[in-house]
Amino acid sequence: MSQMFKRPAVKLAVLCLLLPLLVLLAALLHGADGHAVDLDAVLAGLSLAHPLGCDALGRDVLARLAEGLTLSLGVGLVVVGIGAFLGIGIGITAGWFGGRVDSLLMRLADIVLSFPGILLAIALAAMLGPGVDKLVLALVAVGWVGFARLSRAQVLSLKATPFVDAAVACGSGTVYIGIRHLLPNIAAPLLVEASFGLAAVIIGEAGLSFLGIGVQPPDASLGTMIREGTSLMLVSPLLVVWPGVVLFMLVMAVNLLGDALRDRLDVRGDVRGAGNA
């Protein structure tokens, strides 16, 4: 692990993480309420009271940035967590049992993959209606597929190995083999998939919120902040700069860590990059 920090990608990732961390820390120390409307401070510039100024309703931008950032990370981790849990479960099941179970599950995966990822998430979130829970549901519905296909492919090649045969011969149960023997052996590529998946989900959440079908006002998301900032670009250009820079740094850091993990764990193959949002 100590060797990992010597890699330039990891150094750069740590550098990229500095800004989001600084925003979180500063907001914590500053302690302003991102929901408090102050009509005297509408579009206020940078000051001690509001280090990054205020938005169109006089709400503190720094506090909202921190809220949006926490939400991005939260949604990202929850979606990747649930997606990985479901996807790996489905993938191992399909790979292990083969036959009809396999073809049914993989057809399902094929159908999900027949949509550009962001479009399916947009359509599902639009139909389900606004709200963070619906947003998470829509992103999970798209996100499990990568994990499922990857773990299925890995399990297929592990199935033929002697140690798995031995486990079966010893009479180990299917679930036990799956957790004790298969999962540890496929963990490396899955970890890489998870890190790129996290970047894609963070962009996806912000993108959906940008389009107005994710997080709803008055809650702050980096995506909604970018949208609000875009409409005020002529008056107060910094409002669109801040949330974007923070989002970009976060995604960049996650992507760099993914790259470093892939090199370190020597994973090759069809692990996707971030979504094309």
């Binding site: 027949s114 550009p116 359509a123 669109v240």
Partner: protein, 307 residues
């Protein structure tokens, strides 16, 4: 042999398209509660309710609805817009040319950037030039369209005043949207070009050619270039579909009146049949692009025909 393989692959796309259509059909039933309530509100008159329910075919059993939906898709009746009762297909047809223009421009830009960048990076693999090129590529992948767009707008339209802010009417208005949409594509393609060029250069065929005295330029462009082009072209065909997904966001940023903006407008108006039509069309394009990628790979690389 090749024709049979291509035909087989074409036939494989049919169940996929059926699956896509089924998922799009089921989407309407994801609307929580009753879509009619969602559209008209709780206070609507019963007669209006029934009329809308009938227009959406929600008064029939699910199976009948499904068969009606599928039969409609095949016969060119994709339903009607709930806002102005116009056929969904003609609304889509009006907006399609704008999206094709935008997608074409961004793909062209991506290719023009990606090949030289990928080549440059491969040529200087491991050196500073490589790091620079791949740094740009990482930047391009990590920067979301919905922020790159506003930033370009801020710089070139607001601060410098060189280019129009949004819309499609003024000359030069396609430039910023095309850059926005093309950047991520260029990033992905140049990474692909770099790695496949490097892979080609380390192949036995190239070593043999070099041993036989083929010059460096010839080696890089003629021999390795042809080998590297296959995965890049395949990736390009895949991007043909992905670009339409990205267009949804880019068109919204720039108010570009294409299919993507139509989708978002339809979502905002809860115009469910139109949402279904747009999503179905974009996904079908995507499936066809994947198909093209497969067929292209089979045609260019005989080794792929075995699988």
């Amino acid at each position: 042999m090749l024709m049979r393989l291509i035909l087989y692959r074409l036939l494989q796309a049919i169940p996929t398209l059926l699956g896509v259509a089924t998922l799009v059909f089921l989407m309407l039933h994801l609307v929580p509660g009753d879509p009619v309530d969602a559209l008209l509100g709780e206070m609507a008159l019963p007669a209006d309710r029934e009329a809308l329910r009938h227009a959406l075919h929600l008064d029939a059993p699910l199976w009948t609805q499904y068969l009606q939906f599928m039969a409609g898709l095949v016969s060119g009746d994709w339903g009607q817009s709930l806002i102005d009762q116009r056929p969904v297909l003609s609304l889509i047809a009006e907006r399609l040319p704008a999206t094709v223009r935008l997608a074409g421009a961004s793909l062209l830009l991506a290719v023009l950037l990606a090949f030289p960048l990928g080549f440059w990076a491969a040529r200087h693999a491991g050196k500073r030039q490589d790091m620079t090129a791949m740094g740009f590529s990482l930047l391009g992948v990590s920067i979301p369209n919905f922020w790159l767009g506003p930033m370009l707008m801020l710089l070139f339209s607001v601060l410098l005043g060189w280019l129009p802010v949004s819309g499609m009417d003024q000359p030069g208005s396609i430039i910023l949207p095309a850059i926005t949409l093309g950047t991520a594509l260029a990033a992905v393609l140049s990474r692909m070009a770099r790695s496949s060029w490097l892979e080609a250069m380390s192949s036995d065929a190239i070593r043999t050619a070099r041993a036989m005295g083929v010059g460096d330029t010839m080696l890089w462009w003629r021999h390795a270039g042809r080998m590297a082009a296959i995965p890049v072209l395949t990736m390009f065909a895949l991007q043909l579909g992905a670009v339409l997904g990205g267009a949804v966001i880019t068109e919204t940023v720039f108010d570009w009146p294409g299919l993507g903006l139509l989708t978002i407008e339809a979502i905002q108006q809860r115009n469910y049949p139109l949402v279904q039509g747009c999503v179905l069309l974009i996904a079908s394009f995507y499936v066809l692009a994947n198909l093209t990628a497969d067929v292209l790979a089979m045609m260019l690389d005989p080794r792929q025909r075995r699988a």
